[in-house]
């Protein structure tokens, strides 16, 4: 399968810490690739490095085009959507304003967004800061889905959500993966098992495993050794 995103020898230093130590992996076009690992191994930093939110060196090719030296806004405009950890919606803006801000051209996909998250249409005039955590997560995902992106970088979308909302977010991710490629950081292995085709595992700033997600999650020993948690089925 063709590689849409190709990461080579990517390094990130945050202060004195060498967080990413030359990671290399590919994200195939279409579907969901999960970026997994224990807490603090560099998953969020990887997404932030891909989109240029932290200083980095190495190579990041998007569909054959080098983007590692491009500024964040230019990377996004090349078709990279980003759903950050902790949502980062603009609390002082309304839901509608948050979405308007995310519009990159005249072809914003409001129909898709409101079909996936009808609540956002009803709460258009509500300040985003007054939404529940789940609603804020929907808004954060909606902002990324509003544009026709080539790849979505999604960082722990189910973190802190109630089980019913986790299912809703997983449904949205499944739908998103039908439209575009998704690189997903996710601790909930049940969600990973449901939506991901491939998996990349990080450990202390290095890639330690690349392979099909089902294969990884089927092995209790690998899950325990690489991710430090129980079997995927226990976490669904």
């Amino acid at each position: 399968m063709a590689s849409l995103l190709s990461v080579r020898d990517l390094h990130v230093h945050l202060g004195e810490s060498h967080v990413l130590q030359g990671i290399e992996f590919d994200v195939a076009e279409g579907g969901v690739t999960a970026l997994l690992g224990r807490n603090g191994v560099g998953k969020t930093t990887t997404l932030r490095a891909l989109i240029g939110l932290v200083d980095r060196r190495g190579s990041v090719m998007l569909d054959g085009e080098e983007i590692v030296r491009a500024p964040t806004h230019a990377i996004v405009r090349r078709g990279v959507g980003y759903v950050p950890e902790d949502r980062e919606v603009f609390a002082g803006l309304t839901v509608r304003e948050n979405l308007r801000l995310a519009e990159r051209n005249g072809r914003a996909r409001y129909e898709l967004v409101y079909e996936l998250f009808p609540e956002l249409e009803q709460r258009g005039r509500q300040l985003a800061g007054t939404l529940s955590g789940g609603q804020q997560q929907m808004l954060a995902i909606a902002r990324a889905l509003l544009n026709d992106n080539r790849v979505l970088l999604v960082d722990e979308p189910t973190k802190g959500l109630a089980p019913a909302l986790v299912t809703e977010v997983a449904d949205a991710l499944t739908r998103a993966s039908e439209l575009t490629t998704v690189l997903l950081v996710e601790q909930n292995l049940g969600v990973v098992q449901r939506v991901a085709r491939d998996a990349v595992v990080l450990d202390t700033g290095r890639v330690v495993h690349i392979g099909p997600a089902r294969e990884l999650l089927a092995s209790e020993e690998m899950v325990h050794r690489m991710l430090g948690v129980g079997h995927a089925g226990d976490r669904a």
Binding site: L53, V76, Y82, P84, E88, A91, G92, L93, R143
Partner: protein
């Protein structure tokens, strides 16, 4: 009663002058995190731009001369602010210590340059005679230039609020005040908004300089530096990044200063403003609007 009314209206007028300086300062800090100690230089450059053009325009009436010179002052202030942002501030984003050093240095250098060219003496400014007269309200003889200050500040407040609420750039600036990195992560080049905010801040500070020329009847090279101190106090009391908070704080500071000067002792106005700052920070560390001070 007429004295109290006079103090109140002139206090609001003084607050209007503070608002014109402080609003740009507040927006620049709120969006960009830049403590712009050169903001007083925008005021000085605008004021002297106005004075210079006016002094060169002979043979036409005072009103058109005043209007043309004021327009020139606004343009000079805006262009100067844009150049400062592009040349000095842009290379120093995220380097806050260097920003402070550069803006403090620029503020001092701009004043020194004006003094070197035109001398340290304040220069008299011509303006329409109506502005030098008073209007009597309930026995209080209110100088007309205060009305102009209040009207200008009201127009700027409504204009800035409408701009922030109704335009895409306003949306970008409001979002940028909350989370600049996330704005760029939505594909927006926030640097354009930075330049625009500096331009707006420069134009409004230049307007303060021009109306300050009328208020004090002269263009003074040191006025930007002295008014900047009050502008910073206003911004901190109002809450950094909040235009409405800045407007409320400006009026409060102007009134406190006028009342204290008259009812306590002449000269206590400045001290009372500093005390007010301390009280507000003790009671509301994030300023009146709740934005982080």
């Amino acid at each position: 009663m007429s004295t109290f009314l006079l103090l109140t209206i002139t206090g609001v007028g003084l607050g209007a002058l503070y608002f014109l300086i402080a609003s740009g300062l507040s927006l620049i800090y709120g969006l960009m995190g830049v403590l712009n100690f050169a903001h007083g230089a925008f005021l000085t450059v605008g004021a002297f731009g106005m004075w210079f053009v006016e002094s060169k325009l002979g043979g036409i009436g005072v009103l058109p001369r005043f209007l043309i010179a004021s327009l020139a002052g606004l343009v000079v202030g805006g262009v100067f602010a844009v150049l400062v942002e592009l040349v000095l501030i842009r290379p120093l984003y995220r380097r806050h210590i260097e920003q402070v050093l550069v803006t403090v240095g620029l503020g001092l250098a701009a004043t020194a340059l004006v003094v070197a060219i035109w001398g340290n003496d304040a220069r008299p400014v011509a303006y329409p005679s109506w502005l030098g007269r008073t209007t009597t309200i309930a026995g209080a003889h209110v100088p007309n230039d205060r009305w102009l200050l209040i009207a200008a500040a009201a127009v700027v407040l409504v204009g800035l609020t409408t701009f922030l609420k109704r335009t895409r750039y306003g949306l970008i600036i409001r979002a940028g005040v909350e989370n600049r990195a996330m704005v760029t992560a939505l594909g927006i080049d926030v640097r354009k908004a930075f330049t625009l905010v500096f331009a707006l801040g420069g134009v409004v500070a230049a307007l303060a300089g021009i109306l300050g020329n009328v208020y004090f009847t002269t263009a003074d090279p040191n006025r930007g530096t002295s008014l900047l101190i009050f502008a910073f106090i206003v911004v901190v009391i109002g809450g950094l990044g909040s235009i409405r908070g800045t407007a409320v704080a400006s009026v409060v500071v102007g009134l406190v200063q006028q009342y204290a000067n008259y009812y306590a002792s002449s000269g206590l106005g400045d001290l009372s403003v500093v005390l007010l700052l301390g009280l507000v920070l003790l009671a509301r560390p994030r300023g009146l609007s709740g934005a982080l001070a």
